[in-house]
Symmetry: C2
Subunit: 161 residues, 2 copies
DNA sequence: CCTATTTGTTAGGTTAGCCTAACAAATAGC
DNA sequence: GCTATTTGTTAGGCTAACCTAACAAATAGG
């Protein structure tokens, strides 16, 4: 039963993570092995076998006994969308909040699954806004915020509104 | 066994939510009933009974059969810290991302549990920074961002860096 | 080519958090 | 004060995601 996935929302957070991981490994390795997923996701091998069973049943991966893992077209599309969300949030946490990229990526992976599309959309807009507004230069408020994080001091506005 | 809670990290996300909910209801109602928790958290009554069992066992609530729920000193302290996190994130999502407050609060509740203390700390700093920097006036970059969200247009900087 | 190691699978278990159905206690309204 | 309703508890189940132990298949390296 319940094996039709209309959108990313129909997949549990964990299954989203498995999909994303397969996609990431595919970009690096050509052949995606169960043990690599196990390492990347920090779960034991039987858990991977089990998850792959679920994903095949939903038609998102193709995976023959003792064979490599392939994403179906739909699986790849979903994985890509998960990856994009992950990337956006990682950028926010890293570039705006100034958290180091490893922690940023880990937190992004969890936060992805904890917000409505609306809120995610705004994170996306915020990053997009920053990119468009200031191509190479960090915006001033951000520089000030980072100074505040380090020194605890607020740099007063030079121009009074 | 495992019934010593040294910090908020030792409590599952759900248990944190129960604690926070008890604390919120207490502020409104004096007597906190199981059914109110059930309504607020959108779970059935037996789930509440079960959760209260876990929390009492950890010494965070006092709850006699068919009686009201009380937070212990430690329980109240933990609840307060959950509440503060929740409030900070809600403010971020609402005031900065511009998401309406109901969704903001719901998302904050989930996101609370999905980030490291480091990342949360930066969200906290960001809100603090905003409060200190501009008492009543919204900072300019934020106004510009909000315009961007509505119109999709970037307002160019009047002052070139 | 044959064995040792690595990788994948199966079987069976655990846990947290939820549920329904049924009953017990408490409260409310006549 | 008694009955009807509401609230709380118990018992018993379910599911997702993990685990270990044990075995099976594949691969690697002499």
């Amino acid at each position: 039963m319940n094996n039709i996935v209309a959108s990313i929302e129909d997949l549990s957070p964990k299954m989203q993570d498995y999909l994303e991981a397969i996609s990431i490994l595919k970009k690096q390795n050509e052949r995606v092995r169960s043990v690599d997923l196990s390492t990347l996701l920090k779960v034991k091998r039987p858990s991977v076998t089990e998850a792959l069973g679920v994903l095949s049943q939903k038609g998102l991966v193709v995976h023959e006994r003792y064979g490599g893992v392939e994403l179906t077209k739909q699986g790849a599309a979903l994985a890509e969308s998960v990856y994009q969300r992950h990337k956006t949030l990682t950028r926010f946490i890293c570039e705006i909040l100034g958290v180091d990229s490893k922690i940023a990526s880990e937190d992004a992976c969890k936060m992805e699954h904890a917000m409505s599309p609306k809120t995610f959309g705004r994170f996306y807009k915020l990053i997009e806004f920053m990119d468009k507004k200031s191509k190479n230069q960090e915006p001033q408020w951000l520089t000030h915020f980072k100074t505040y994080c380090k020194k605890g001091k607020v740099i007063s506005c030079t121009k009074k509104r």
